[in-house]
Symmetry: C2
Subunit: 216 residues, 2 copies
DNA sequence: GTTTACAGGAATGTTGACACTTTTCCGGGG
DNA sequence: CCCCGGAAAAGTGTCAACATTCCTGTAAAC
C-alpha cells in the first residue's frame, strides 16, 4: 500500500502502465486492488477509470469492470490515418513558428549519431531520441488543443512503435525520412516539411499493413 | 423532476445544452440541482461532469464546481487549424470510399436550392443542409476514430457557425467552396477535394480573424 | 463423463451521510 | 457610507456501508 495519491496521479500512473504494457491488453482492472495499492478509496479509482474510459484506453462492461482496450488492426490503421494529418500539421506549424536554426542540432543528430545507433541495433535509445524530437515539434507548434489530441491518439498505439521499428529496414527508412523532414525545416519550408512527415507516416502504415501478420 | 436517466443520457443532454448555449459559457453547473432535475443521485451527475471535463466542455475548479468552458479567441483558431486537416482527411477518405455518383444529388442541392436559400437569407435552413452533408461525409470516411475526434472538436465551436455565417458574403463564399469540393468528389478526385476543403476552412478561419471584434 | 442447477463468494454499482471548503449574509466598527 | 470579521448556509469532495450482478465451485442427474 503506497502513499495516498490524488485522482489525477492515479490516472497518470495507469496511463503509463497501459502504454508500457505493464498491464496487458484485455486484462481486467480490479477496483478494490487498485484502491488498496494506491492507498485511496474505491471512489477515487472509479473516477480514474471513468477518465480512462473517456480516453478510450479501457472499456467498461457493466457489472464486470474495466478491461484494457485491445486494439484490432483496423483501428490501428484508422489511427495512423489521423496521425498522418495531425503530425503533418504539427510539423508545419513548428516550422512556421521557429527560426530554422533551431532544428540544426536535431538534423545533425539524426544524420550522425543516430545512424550509428541503428546500425548497432540500439533501437531503444533511438526510440527515445525519436520521441524527444516528437515532443519538441509538438511544443513548437504552439497549439495546446493539437498537443492534447496528439497525445491521446499517440498513446493508443505507443506499444506498436517497438514492433514496427524492428521490421526489416524500417528504422533506417524512418531515420532518412526524419533527415529529409529536418532539412526542409532548416530551410523554413513548412509546406514541404508537412508533406514529408505525412509521407513518412503513410509508409509506416503501409509497412504495418504488409507485415501485419507478424505484429498482431 | 423528470424521469430517471442513465449517466450516458445525462451526458448527452448536457452536451446539447452546452452546444446550443442553453447554458451560457462561464455558468456554473450545480450538482444538486441537476441531480434533482434528472431524477438521479448526485454521483451519477458527477460522473457525467467528469466526462464533460475530459471532453473539455467544462472546467472543474476544486471545491467550486464545474463551469462551462469559455473559449477565448486563440483557442478557436487552434481548433480551426485542426479542423482544417481533419475535415480535409475525412473528405479525401469519403471520396475514395464512395462511388462518385453518390455526391451528385448533394452537388445539385448546393448549386440550386441552397443558393436561393442564402439569397433569401434563410440561413438556419442552410446550416441544417450544411451539417447534413458534413455528417454524410464523416460517415462515408468510415473511420470511427476520426468521427469521434471530429465530433468532440466540432462541438466546441458549434456555437460560432451561426456567427460566422452572417458575416458579409460569408455564406455564399462557403457555398461556392462546397460546390467546388463536391464537383471534385463527383469526379473522384480525392486529393483535390481534400485541398479544397482545407482551403475552405482556412478562409473561414481568416474571416474569423478579420471580424473577430464582431464575433466575440 | 458431461451437463445442469444451485449456493457461496467476489466484484461492481449505488446510495446516503459526513467532512471540508467556499460563499453569503449580518452586525459592528472605523 | 464603506469595510471588515464571523457565523450560518450552501455546495462540493470523500468515504463506508449496502444492494445487485456476475463468476466459481460443488454436487447431483442424465
Amino acid at each position: 500500500m503506497r502513499k495516498a495519491k490524488s485522482a489525477a496521479e492515479i490516472l497518470q500512473a495507469l496511463r503509463v502502465r497501459i502504454a508500457q504494457q505493464r498491464i496487458a491488453p484485455g486484462a481486467k482492472l480490479n477496483e478494490t486492488d487498485l484502491a488498496e495499492e494506491f492507498g485511496v478509496s474505491r471512489a477515487r479509482v472509479r473516477d480514474a477509470l471513468g477518465a480512462l474510459e473517456q480516453r478510450g484506453l479501457v472499456e467498461r462492461i457493466p457489472n464486470r469492470g474495466a478491461v484494457v482496450m485491445r486494439l484490432d488492426l483496423s483501428q490501428v490503421f484508422h489511427i495512423y490515418e489521423i496521425r498522418e494529418v495531425l503530425e503533418g500539421l504539427a510539423t508545419r506549424l513548428a516550422t512556421q513558428n521557429t527560426p530554422p536554426e533551431a532544428w540544426k542540432e536535431d538534423l545533425a543528430r539524426f544524420q550522425g549519431p543516430l545512424k550509428d545507433l541503428i546500425a548497432r541495433g540500439e533501437l531503444q535509445e533511438y526510440i527515445e531520441h525519436y520521441e524527444r524530437l516528437r515532443r519538441k515539434i509538438t511544443e513548437a507548434a504552439k497549439n495546446p488543443v493539437l498537443a492534447e489530441m496528439m497525445d491521446t491518439i499517440f498513446e493508443k498505439t505507443q506499444v506498436l512503435i517497438r514492433r514496427i521499428i524492428i521490421l526489416p529496414g524500417r528504422a533506417e527508412v524512418g531515420r532518412k525520412q526524419h533527415v529529409a523532414m529536418l532539412q526542409a525545416m532548416c530551410k523554413g519550408e513548412a509546406q514541404e516539411a508537412e508533406n514529408i512527415r505525412r509521407n513518412g507516416l503513410r509508409s509506416a502504415r503501409l509497412a504495418l499493413e504488409k507485415y501485419q501478420g507478424f505484429i498482431l
